[in-house]
Symmetry: C3
Subunit: 215 residues, 3 copies
């Protein structure tokens, strides 16, 4: 019989892990804003500069993940299960990877003409990172479980919209794009963007499983 | 020294989680049957109706997953570890997602001509969902660990067959399909189908890890 | 408040699990060597023989995973958490799957002309398997945590290099390969190779999470 451990509760005054998670999730919003800015920028050289800045943020997220791992190795007491801190860190890092992956593919594959679904997915990615950040900021204070689960529900709904846009965008490519190589390029970019929202959903899943164990 | 917790045993009389898991796995069989029916239906309009029904079942599976999460938040005592209930729920949901994904791609990409490997993979997906359902129904009664592990072994073997069919189907596309866009469409459909069997294997892996911890 | 369990420590004299893990990681090195040999072999028939041997090793890895699962079901006391033994086993098996997957795609899709990035990725895969093997051999003796974390850092750096090579190789395909079907074939082979290094990184992540819990 597996029961919830009633001695398991959050450390409300943790000063190490929460600030680091919050820095990561703030960076994710910045990356979401930059991606949206990039796909709305018509000057290719200016857009390329934004892609570079997205890469810088991706490196910052890597550094923060590394710091969280260091804190884990130094701290005996953690605000919640060590494995969950680990999972949350890598799921947040995956979001950064796929936002960067989408911008990197547009850059490397020279996808210069930005299509409507690319713009729509950029909007959804920004929305999803804002919700991830909301949920992460509520983690400190588990009085507000409802706020976290609401953010998770909204992330799921954003991911559903992204799925729908992706599916239809790919269907349109198959119907109207006669150049197979162009079709593959656009499909790759759209796919990285859609996966970025999937990864936000993974963060939501990790958060929900943390709540299930701790709340 | 990490030892099995000898106080950890299944709650044989659980009335909440097992029936929900069983409903999900029964739905998976229905989805497998519908997919097989769809690829054997030559009337495109009729086939489209079946794709719609598959989508309905996918929504039913989502609702059941949501119910399981609600039960988790309400119940102090669970038949096995909360994290494992969580993993099992999402791995079952992934199977539904990919069966739906395969039917959705055939529909959206207008893959009207059903090839032999698509039919073969539909057969294997149905077989795999039947085994998943068998294993889930044995979970209630851990006297029959052997029945679960046998079902898992069969799921692994089905997944191997699906891999083989997928690999050869894609090799044939590369050899004989001269239209690159058609090639990509078929590859995408085959890939979603093959991934559906991978996800059944993931369910088997979760089940085996539950047995490892509890048996 | 979740704290590290101070009663959790490694069983230094474990004679069952460590030798099995070490056999798997030694096999991974063999597979890495064979892959490198294959892509440096110009005789197509000879290369095909090497691909067969890689397949044999993949089966050996499957058998070893199965043995580890058997040991898990028989042993009450394990050198570290049962779930982690389970995760480590499947992450190692995934490396074998993708090395085999890369060789299988070259074989099935008749990718006879080996490009420079394919050779570079084969080098990196071999390097990564060597580091995985180093880390696995240090697991027995947790005095040398530093050796394991250093190997994990090197695996991450190898994976970054593989990412970079993959990205540029695909960008070059999009720029210079005019035959879309050839482009897809090469992209598939490169992608399996890059994923093999991703899977080595997953092993590193599992190892780091074991250290976090046990060290």
């Amino acid at each position: 019989m597996a029961s919830k451990n009633i001695f398991q509760f959050f450390v409300p005054k943790d000063k190490k892990f929460f600030p680091l998670f919050e820095q990561v999730s703030s960076n994710l919003i910045e990356m979401g804003k930059l991606l949206k800015e990039a796909v709305n920028q018509n000057d290719i050289a200016e857009r390329k500069k934004i892609f570079r800045t997205i890469e810088d943020y991706e490196h910052k997220c890597d550094d923060l993940s590394h710091q969280i791992h260091l804190e884990l190795s130094k701290n005996f007491i953690t605000p919640f299960d060590r494995e969950d801190i680990y999972s949350l860190t890598s799921s947040l890092d995956d979001v950064a990877d796929f936002i960067h992956g989408a911008s990197n593919r547009m850059d490397l594959y020279k996808v210069h003409k930005i299509s409507q679904p690319i713009m729509d997915l950029a909007d959804l990615i920004l929305e999803a990172t804002i919700e991830v950040n909301n949920a992460i900021h509520e983690l400190r204070n588990l009085q507000n479980i409802r706020q976290i689960t609401d953010a998770c529900v909204r992330i799921n709904s954003i991911e559903n919209k992204a799925d729908y846009i992706f599916d239809n965008a790919v269907a349109n490519l198959f119907e109207f794009e006669t150049n197979a190589i162009e079709l593959i390029k656009y499909k790759e970019v759209l796919s990285a963007m859609e996966t970025a929202t999937d990864r936000c959903e993974d963060v939501a899943n990790v958060l929900e499983s943390i709540l299930v164990k701790n709340a």
